[in-house]
């Protein structure tokens, strides 16, 4: 990042030597954010409240210009059906964009599978999105620094700089990344950074009719999300990878990872 800024600065400096000096002053985003060390975005998913309607997935696609019919998505909802025999059946057709309306479970090549009601022990839905990890594997492996963490804890991709190697996609333990079918660079959830930095809510949280998804500031002790994360019993996904996610789950089963 520094090096690129340096190159940018140099280029700007050389071409714009005639411009007044104050016009040359580039704003360093790190500096701006350093003035707010009290900000750290965190996300809370309440799996008890999620009904698998897919409103969040739809809203996200529309808000963030992910082609509606493309088979990739920044957020998705997984359905878990646990059978009395102990078998776990899962699916997420089209990322659950259209909601779960059928009892047929999508099994890819093996075709749909119908589960008999009386054999089912429990069923629930788990929304997923980028975890905006504190130690993100994707940032670690990106060869050009196109994927980076902001000081307020959001992981972003610089579409102008990404070379499209796919290393971050392979490195992310959560499978949240993909290549954007139009711009052909790595893409993923941004916590709707363009909205939250202006005081707004994320598109998915806003669209959720049941309040299953919420975003908040983990550094603010009065923030309802922060309170829940700090005082409630919450879990994170795939702790073993050491990425320290910032998306927390209420009611996480051991079957979910």
């Amino acid at each position: 990042m520094k090096r690129r800024d340096f190159l940018k600065n140099t280029a700007v400096f050389i071409t714009g030597a005639s411009v007044s000096l104050s016009a040359l002053e580039l704003v360093d985003p790190k500096e701006v954010l350093a003035s707010r060390p009290d900000l750290r975005w965190g996300f809370l998913v309440d799996t008890y409240k999620c009904v698998g309607c897919g409103m969040c997935v739809k809203a996200c696609k529309l808000e963030n210009d992910i082609p509606y019919d493309a088979n990739v998505t920044r957020t998705w909802v997984e359905r878990y059906v646990i059978m009395k025999s102990g078998e776990v059946v899962k699916d997420s057709p089209k990322g659950a964009r259209d909601g779960f309306t059928s009892k047929l479970v999508d099994q890819g090549e093996s075709g749909p599978r119908l589960l008999r009601d009386k054999e089912i022990a429990q069923g629930f839905f788990v929304p997923k999105l980028c975890n905006h990890c504190t130690l993100p594997a994707c940032v670690q492996v990106c060869p050009v620094g196109a994927t980076y963490s902001t000081a307020d804890g959001v992981v972003l991709v610089d579409r102008k700089w990404c070379i499209g190697c796919g290393y971050c996609i392979m490195g992310c333990p959560y499978g949240v990344r993909f290549f954007h079918p139009v711009v052909h660079t790595a893409d993923k959830c941004t916590f709707c950074y363009h909205r939250i930095t202006k005081g707004g809510n994320t598109a998915c949280a806003q669209a959720c009719p049941f309040g299953a998804r919420r975003i908040g500031n983990l550094r603010d002790p009065n923030d309802p999300v922060a309170k829940e994360v700090l005082n409630g019993r919450v879990g994170i996904l795939r702790d073993e990878y050491g990425t320290k996610p910032n998306v927390y789950y209420i009611g996480l089963n051991k079957e979910v990872h």
């Binding site: 090096r3 998505t73 890819g108 093996s110 492996v141 050009v144 196109a146 499209g164 993909f178």
Partner: protein
Amino acid sequence: MVHGEAWTIKDLFVLPNEYVYWSIQIVLYPYMTGLVAGAFVLSSLYHVFGVEKLKEIARFALVFSFALLPVAMMPLMLHLQQPLRGIHVMMTPHFTSAISAFGIVFLTYGCIVASEIWFVYRKFIVESIERLEKKQRRGIESLMLMIYKVISLGARDISPEALEADHKAIKFLAGLGIPVACFLHGYAGFIFGSVKANALWMTPLMPVIFIMSAVVSGIALCILCYAIFMWLRRWALKRGKTFFIPEQVAGTMEISDAQLRDVQTYETRMTSKYLLIFMTLAITLELLDIIFRGYTAVKSWDILRQVIYEHDFVKIFILQYGIGNALPFLMLLLPGLTTRRACLASILVLFGVLMMRWNVVIGGQAFSLSFAGFMHYQLPIIPYSLETFKEGLGGALMVAVTPFVIFYFLNMIFPAFYSEEEAH
């Protein structure tokens, strides 16, 4: 269509964004770098350790390694979604990323090979300049003269002291080249081994396994190509044709068919011995890895076992270990090795190493991060878009053919088969 969708078939529960993102080009990437590194190690056996028996093939291996060098870059570029931005890797190297070191290691290595070739051929270059300057030049010869003049860099001193200094430099560069070549390839293994999200790749053994199989594939390729080019030379010699053998254009070499055949058989036999040694090491390491995973059986072993013993059984145990390892191993071990048998064995070895890369790269992506589903990869054969060409059979063949084209032209300037009394 989404990248990867064209060649991925999903089965059971696969996450919505998961596809086989690293396809054939990423199989070829470690394969090609492996060949480069392997060929170089072979040439260094002679230069550094003074294995006199490998003298002839060593020079060939060196030039060939140089011809392969630019091709190691190609698959990486071809698989980028934004190939024109490839240079960003050099502009903002991000040192926590294994790929970002590639440019640097690669350039260092390239410089070492280039300077070694320069020292090895310096005498030849100077002599060629002198010879060409004296004679009546026809079209291409003027061009050659110009090229030689440029690459001689003005160093025209071929006194015994100067040549002695050259020898020292060669030895030093060859010695330096071995660790760098191993590093070049070891870290290609590291790129995979460090992807912590992938249960199959995540092993510290990965770089070592890659180095060993790299040496194996490099040596096998040298044996094979050496034989093919020798055969071409003999064929051309009999018919008085000279286009395969620029050293004859240059008129510096007179050799009979029988002599050529002797040299060929001898070199092939000697090299095969080294091939056997490295094969043993490579196979041991790979088996060790599988056994260790099964024995320690952590959570991911469940799905790995399914991939290794069920989905990819044929590819791993039949194609890679059976046809690619065990069979050529026996062929090389049996007494009375002929060039033909050595070549056949080398082809199998090359195939085996390719399968190993395939099984690591594609096999590593065969199971979903959900640990509950699988992805099958179908190589695009008939391209209907740039993407399916680049990451399909067409792109793969392009990568495979390029080194030979480069070698053909390189051989005109640095004749790989040129030999003289104090050749190195």
